[in-house]
């Protein structure tokens, strides 16, 4: 469903050219949960924004369902790293933001909004403003807002990066459960190896800038996955393999 062919991205500012992404190719099948792990600042966010259509690639192309991506579209929903809820809208209005622009009937709109309020456990906060919510709750609203729009693929840019470790692991469990029921195609970006393995079916290990794919792992753990999985021996061993691939950097001399 998503096909990325030899995408490169070069930034030019006054003084120099920075190569952010180099010859990146991958494809994602429908219903797949793919994670990309890479060091901070390696160009992960840039790559996701290219797929979202927020920035354009310097070379190569991205095909989505066979059509070349030239701009943002609601079939490619994105959950951002920072808090991006609209502060002037309540939780309910935030979730309904995308639906508002689709000119759906009020009844249909309420139905969808209520559904996502329920599955994200936010019913009691439907009339609250984002400023009164905790970080974890805000990200849950952001996920609900994107899902309510019924995208074909969910692009997630370190969505739990700014949360404390306890909330983070709750959110990971929440997301696996969500994926197991909704079966959305998800492309999840993170710098946390454990997070990537726990969530995804396939893990791409990325290099430092200029970003390219170093190695691909297929995650062997069955679903549904529970938190206890993270404490198992198999998980630990697999994590070691992925981590090794991440650290191993032959091009680097220093």
């Amino acid at each position: 469903m998503l096909k990325v062919t030899n995408v490169s991205k070069v930034y030019t500012n006054e003084s120099r050219r920075v190569k952010a992404i180099e010859d990146l190719a991958l494809s994602i099948k429908e219903g797949e949960f793919v994670a990309m792990v890479g060091p901070s600042g390696c160009g992960k966010t840039t790559f996701l924004k290219v797929i979202a259509g927020l920035i354009s690639a310097s070379h190569g192309e991205v095909l989505f369902d066979g059509v070349k991506i030239i701009g943002p579209g609601k079939e490619r929903g994105m959950v951002f790293q920072g808090f991006t809820l609209f502060p002037w809208l309540t939780v309910r209005e935030n979730i309904g933001f995308g639906l508002e622009m689709q000119k759906l009937s009020r009844k249909k709109k309420n139905e969808i909004t209520n559904h996502y309020l329920a599955i994200t456990g936010l019913k009691d906060f439907s009339n609250a403003y984002p400023k009164s919510l905790s970080g974890g709750m805000q990200q849950r609203v952001a996920i609900a807002r994107t899902l309510a729009n019924n995208p074909k693929i969910l692009l997630m840019d370190e969505p739990f990066g700014s949360l404390d470790s306890q909330t983070r692991s709750q959110m990971q469990e929440f997301l696996t459960k969500l994926w197991e029921t909704e079966h959305k195609t998800i492309l999840f970006i993170t710098h946390d190896v454990r997070e990537a393995i726990f969530l995804a079916d396939k893990v791409y290990v990325l290099s430092e800038r200029p970003m390219h794919i170093k190695k691909v792992f297929t995650v062997p753990f069955s679903r549904p996955r529970k938190r206890a999985l993270k404490r198992s021996k198999e998980f630990f061993e697999f994590e070691g393999k992925v981590e090794l691939a991440l650290e191993n950097n032959p091009q680097r001399s220093s």
Binding site: K49, G77, F80, L89, R145
Partner: protein, 262 residues
């Protein structure tokens, strides 16, 4: 004194300080006038000024002077908003337009509005239209640039989020940029309202046949210091009232901001 940005005090504590502040002001005024320290010709007693206000209401044209000035401000202000809002938003959204329009606006902005009065009298006479134009020339350029700033400050991530949710350019302006900018635009209105008062009084002092500024210059001709003070106090009170209006409506319209809690 400790500085606490988010310090909260109760309504009663707040009101008590408001009353205290007024009392101190009145006490100072009384102590230099009732004792004869300052001649009443230069500074009348509070009671004298208060009775002038009553007299001007009963026998003079105070009520109509007040409504005339308010009416001029209202029209000047609405006219300014009608022009500044679309221009400010457009300037904030497009760098090309900014390059085209900002320099002339900045040019007008640096000319004191009072400098336009002689010209405005030739063009528009000394009636309401001329006052409205002076207010417009005085505040529209500032308002435009303040609105531009508010629009430029739109958080980029919010625009990106809206785009991935299927927003069109029009949606971005109407559903993201404007709602995001409105609290600071509302604050600009509050500040510019104060400026509008300044300009209408100046315009009325220089050339008018009605309005609070006209009342003041007339009173000066007849050496009625008490009436000048009466007009000053009325202007101050009306200014205070508009300020409160904007503060209260801010809290009602923008309950989602940090400031609305203070």
């Amino acid at each position: 004194m400790t500085i606490r940005l988010y310090q909260k005090i109760s309504k009663i504590q707040y009101s008590a300080r408001v009353v205290l502040g007024l009392l101190i002001f009145l006490l100072g005024w009384s102590s230099v006038t009732y004792t004869g320290l300052v001649q009443s010709f230069f500074l009348p007693t509070p009671t004298a000024v208060f009775s002038s206000i009553v007299m001007l209401f009963m026998e003079g044209n105070l009520a109509s002077d007040i409504s005339t000035s308010i009416y001029r401000i209202l029209f000047g202000f609405l006219f300014s908003i009608a022009v500044a809002l679309p221009f400010g938003v457009a300037l904030g959204m497009s760098r090309k337009l900014e390059a085209l329009i900002e320099p002339p606006i900045a040019f007008i902005r640096y000319i004191p509005p009072s400098a336009f009065i002689p010209l405005a009298i030739i063009w528009f006479g000394i009636g309401d239209l001329q006052k409205v134009m002076i207010i417009f020339l005085g505040i529209a350029p500032y308002l435009t640039l303040l609105i531009t700033d508010a629009v430029i400050n739109t958080r980029r991530e919010l625009v990106e989020a809206a785009l991935t949710l299927g927003a069109t350019n029009k949606n971005i302006i109407m559903k993201v940029v404007l709602p995001h900018a409105f609290p600071s635009i509302w604050d600009s209105f509050r500040l510019m309202m104060g400026a509008a008062w300044t300009f209408v009084i100046i315009a009325e002092i220089v050339g008018a046949s009605s309005g609070l500024g006209h009342l003041m210059i007339e009173s000066q001709r007849f050496l009625r210091t008490d009436n000048i003070y009466a007009a000053i106090i009325i202007i101050g009170l009306l200014g205070l009232a508009t300020d409160y209006f904007f503060k209260i409506t801010y809290k009602i319209y923008f309950p989602w901001t940090e400031k609305s809690y203070a």
